[in-house]
Amino acid sequence: MLDLYHVYKQYPGEAPALSDVSLTVAKGEFVFLTGASGAGKSTLMRLVFCAEKATSGQLLVFGRNVAKVKASQVPSLRRAIGVVFQDFKLLPHRTVAENVAFPLEVRGLSQGEVRRRVAGGLRSVGLELKSDKFPLSLSGGEQQRVAVVRALVGDPALLLADEPTGNLDPERTVEVMELLRAANARGTTVLVATHDRALLERYKKRVVLLERGRVAVDGGEIRRAGGL
């Protein structure tokens, strides 16, 4: 699903954001990517959804070397990847339903099919009655649930979540994590970047710890690496 071989990412005049990162994420896995701020979690995510290119090394997504993916092929790759951000990235002047419909519209689905899938997605997170509301009228937890539905409504093979619970209280955090876990149970590979230690302890999943751009620990024993 996801293979990184000696991946480096260096921004001009800065220390390497990623340094010799090698990592494999199998189909159907649920992986926590953790580390302190600036450890390289978000950079790694951005490389996976082709927002940036690695300075060197190989990164394979669905078996395709992203360095060789042409710009015109990036959209089709991204349609197989759902992305959730800490700041939700919802459009404030679009309704909840319109926000969720975006990934389906870019696929060229009929309006009827879009409406059906949007309604189904919102129903699955208990927001069907808020489909005509605007995001800013929702709570943080509701906004993030909308963002998760938007990421999942297109049935992506891979879900990337960059600090998805960073702005949420513990109760809303559990709600959102359960959505990610349910998606994983349906077969979606999930990669969650977080520095929330409680999450790692609550959900016994594979943990990859990044430190100063390097993989320090790859496995379940996060405490062995000295914590976060």
Binding site: P103, V106, R150
Partner: protein, 292 residues
Amino acid sequence: MIRPTYFLGRAVDAIARAPRVAAISVATIFVAAFVTGLFAAVLHGAGKLLDAWAGEVRISVYLDPSANLEAARAVAARLAGGRDVEAVSSEEALRRFRAALREQGALLDGLGTGVLPPSVEVSVPGIGLAEARTLAKRLEAVPGAREVDFGNAWLEQLERLLVRLRLVGSLLLAVLATGAAVLVANTLRLGVFARRDEIEIMKLVGATDFFVEVPFLIEGLIQGLGAGVLAAGFLAAAAAVGLSRLSRALGTLPLAGTDLVPPALLLSLIAGGGLLGLVASALAVRGELRKP
């Protein structure tokens, strides 16, 4: 397959959501189209005026005093292709000159009757300057012709001035159009910038550049066509009002409203406005699409 109506709907929706930005864009394109159209109308009107003045002149073939006036008239009539040709003797020329001078006619007293040369005069109503020049050249073959005059001295000066004006005008139009495109692109970029989050998210969920770009292009086209229609309407109205006031100030002008703003110019303004909106939108949105 995404239906064209989907893109049209998105474009119309975007205009409805941000009417102020749309109004600024329309106003910018309107000013660019109107100023360009005004300039083109003045140039076009000047050309028409020159032709009209040329059409009012008479071509005079001045003859040698010893020339056979009737024979000259016959040849001139043949060369002029059925136009009205009049033979004017020296005496008649002097009489007409005296009549033209009115009360100063006495100044001509004492002059001999042969002081003015005999001539044949060809009426050429509605003739263009180029055609007048060709006919004048042909009339040089009239037996006994010494000089052919059709007011060419000032008309040709005026024509040279117009050629220069057209050249400068074309350059100015090109500069104006380029400046307008840049100005409009920058204005539309404000609208694109206001929707950069939308573009970012669309790209994030796998939208192609085409998918992102098309609604913006349709939006630019709609705004441009709207501004073009407004500019054409205002220009036609301005031409009508301007001509009416000029006629009152200067007497009868041999120009109609369509001489200043012919339908082709109005259609060009509308099409040009649409094209300007389209190109400016493309420039604006591509800048945003280049971002990763």
